[in-house]
């Protein structure tokens, strides 16, 4: 004898429309996929990595970096997570392909093309208030007889480091055609950084 309850149950199923079945299936599939991605997102993280070897003080182009997913435990402190925060900026030290980009390796946004980053030894009193990314006027004053002062305006301060001898090294981006003027002063002159009003230093 047929089970009336089972027969009633079988009759009930076709009352659900195919549209409703589709909607339920999509909801369940979406929830399952979202849960999977959420679990994966808790274990992994997207960070900025270098796609090719980069030399120090080079402006990062769009093709130089990419986002890569990796285990959260392998991500170092200060790792960059946004491509926009790296692209178009200077890198402050050489990076190898596949290396994760960290915050202290990223400098200010690169200035106009055709500039070169040069190190300058400046007195502590001249650079005490200078911040990375500031625009300064570079005053190159040769000491001793001969030569004349050279002024290079609106120079971007890329990085600053202390030397082993206790001095202060400032890396600035200057036009390529002013390298000679800097070379003449280096070693026998004095570099002074002058704040540019409104440069945000």
């Amino acid at each position: 004898m047929a089970n009336p309850r089972a027969a009633a149950h079988r009759r009930a199923w076709p009352r659900i429309s195919l549209t409703m079945c589709t909607a339920v299936a999509v909801f369940v599939a979406g929830a399952a996929g979202g849960t999977w991605l959420g679990i994966d997102g808790a274990r992994t993280e997207r960070v900025v990595v270098v796609t090719r070897d980069l030399s120090g003080f080079r402006a990062v182009s769009a093709a130089d970096v990419t986002l890569r997913k990796m285990a959260r435990s392998a991500v170092p402190p200060g790792a960059m997570r946004s491509l926009g925060s790296v692209r178009g900026h200077y890198v402050l030290r050489p990076l190898h392909a596949g290396q994760i980009v960290v915050q202290h390796a990223v400098g200010p946004p690169a200035a106009a093309p055709g500039l070169v980053v040069v190190p300058l030894s400046v007195g502590n009193d001249s650079a005490a208030w200078i911040r990375d990314g500031a625009l300064v006027d570079l005053l190159l004053a040769p000491t001793g007889p001969g030569g004349r002062a050279v002024v290079i305006r609106q120079v971007l301060v890329v990085d600053q480091r202390k030397t082993a001898a206790g001095g202060h090294l400032v890396f600035v981006a200057v036009p390529r055609d002013r390298e000679c003027a800097i070379a003449r002063v280096a070693g026998r002159g004095r570099a002074i950084l002058a704040e540019v009003p409104g440069s945000g230093t």
Binding site: R11, W13, P14, R15, I16, S17, L18, T19, T22, A23, V26, F27, A29, G30, G33, G34, W36, L37, G38, D40, G41, T44, R46, A62, L67, K69, L83, G84, R87
Partner: protein
């Protein structure tokens, strides 16, 4: 002047193609591209690269993109009939169980409407014969219109319609075209939205995209697909009624254009349509003599 140029261009180009295929294909391809880039975190870089191109290069890229969309739209246009049949429930192979499920459900619903004597609902939404019931609501609405000439007059719509259509007045043809165009737009929208939801969902799972992007793409796209399908049922009801009324008002134009006398009553009309089908399918000559040509 701009409005005049637009109206001239759209007048030259088929409006149905532009609306039902090109516009929807354009939206589909653009959304696929945005999701593909955003899923990998490359959307900003792509915009930067685009902005770095010079104007002539941008124009060439835009022209190539439009040409690509045009080709895709042409493919979509050629498949509108298949898309419509898919929504009508003409399923085979691994979808056969789904078709049987849908047909069984609609049998139950048809039986229920008959028991409640809901003649108006049955007229608009179901063919009279249980054997003609399809798996989807759209399929039943369109099948009801297809079966109407046979059920009411004994005329096979598949044979009659291609011969009747050229005889119709322009305003009737325009009305049929507009009703069909609205129906096709919603079905193509539903199909492309479902395709986008499926493809983007699979892609975003593979690239491990953010959860919010995955849910927006999948749930959002299928919500659009389901809403578009539900909206198409209203358009289908209108289209089906236009077809039925066209048969009612103009079916005898075929006999008059074939220089045959009009049937005297309903029974004679059924017999005439039977003879017509034999003529078309089996070359059996009509028994009625041709009247002399008009002076």
């Amino acid at each position: 002047m701009f409005a005049t140029a637009i109206s001239t261009v759209t007048g030259v180009l088929d409006r149905r193609f532009l609306r039902n295929s090109f516009a929807l294909s354009l939206a589909f391809i653009v959304l696929c591209g945005v999701v593909a880039l955003a899923g990998n975190g490359q959307l900003g870089a792509a915009i930067t690269i685009w902005q770095s191109w010079r104007a002539p290069v941008q124009l060439l890229a835009a022209a190539a993109f439009i040409a690509t969309v045009w080709v895709v739209a042409a493919v979509v246009q050629s498949q509108i009939r298949s898309i419509t049949q898919a929504f009508e429930g003409y399923w085979s192979g691994p979808l056969r169980p789904l078709r049987r499920y849908g047909e069984k459900r609609h049998w139950q619903r048809l039986d229920k409407l008959r028991s409640q004597q809901q003649a108006a609902q049955i007229y608009a939404r179901y063919p009279l014969s249980r054997n003609e019931v399809r798996a989807t609501r759209l399929g039943n609405i369109l099948r009801a219109a297809e079966c109407y000439p046979r059920d009411r007059y004994g005329a096979d719509s598949v044979l009659v319609w291609p011969r009747l259509y050229p005889l119709l007045p322009d305003n009737i043809i325009t009305g049929i075209g507009q009703a069909r165009e609205s129906l096709e737009f919603l079905l193509v929208l539903s199909a492309l939205a479902a395709a986008f939801g499926t493809v983007s969902g699979i892609y975003l799972i593979v690239v491990m995209a953010p959860v919010w992007l995955f849910l927006v793409c999948v749930w959002g796209a299928f919500a659009v697909a389901i809403l578009a399908y539900r909206s198409s049922l209203g358009a289908a009801l209108l289209y089906a009624e236009v077809l039925r009324s066209t048969f009612d008002m103009h079916r005898l134009d075929i006999f008059s254009n074939m220089r045959l006398p009009a049937p005297a009553n309903a029974a004679a009309e059924r017999q005439r349509w039977t003879e017509f089908s034999r003529l078309v399918l089996r070359n059996v000559p009509l028994p009625q003599p041709y009247p002399p040509p008009p002076p």
